[in-house]
Symmetry: C2
Subunit: 123 residues, 2 copies
Amino acid sequence: MDITTAPTAFSALSQPTRLNVFRLLVKAGNIGMLSGELGQALGIRQNTMSANLAILLQSGLIRNARNGRTIRYFADFNGIHGLLAFLMEDCCGGNPALCEPLITQLTCNPNTHKEDNDACYSS
Amino acid sequence: MDITTAPTAFSALSQPTRLNVFRLLVKAGNIGMLSGELGQALGIRQNTMSANLAILLQSGLIRNARNGRTIRYFADFNGIHGLLAFLMEDCCGGNPALCEPLITQLTCNPNTHKEDNDACYSS
DNA sequence: TAAATATATCAATAATTCATGATATATGGA
DNA sequence: TCCATATATCATGAATTATTGATATATTTA
């Protein structure tokens, strides 16, 4: 993530439908949601949803996987982590070593093995 | 922060100059930077910088304070925290109580009293 | 009060983005 | 092979956004 790619990612989140989609996918975690489910949940027409999902995909904040006729979308926690780390770089008075693990915890990643990310799942 | 205000904040970060400004202010912490310093640091004309600062101000991600002829700008860590908390709401499999303190730590707030926010400053 | 400095506002044009209707592609089932 | 389902792509017009030159406002100093 750098100054050329980060604005694209923030732009992807700057539109209400796309932000709603993203938040639904964050909540859905590694279960994800189908394109049609997202459209139905948010009351968005098919082609509009498709176009907005394409913009989110290109931003690196979500990913997808086809399964038969359906395509399932997921939040991409690696991409989210990269974006937030870039945004908050050198926060806390220029001590990135301090903030980095906090960002990692914030964006706890259901795509990784559970044992790599216990903070996300332990009580 | 809600679905009507968050897109405005992400839109504010979706433009390279404004994202550079924001990151400089995050690094500057409670020292902040003058409008003119920001323009000089980034090579941006005066009125363009003023317009972009106004957009960031309206987003709630930065704040300012006039001091004589100059106006000093600061990252608004309360606003940042609100935005990221909204973005990542119910992350980690729907356990907001788990993620909330992580977001709080991520956006450690130099505006608050040090003793309220030790994680940001202790080694 | 007049000049200088720092920043904001205005008006206009150029560029970008958005939702939509129509259509195309991909897959599965009869 | 034909049809139905799920999703993507295309072209277009409307709306929004960005930058710029010019000018205005606020503050300090002479």
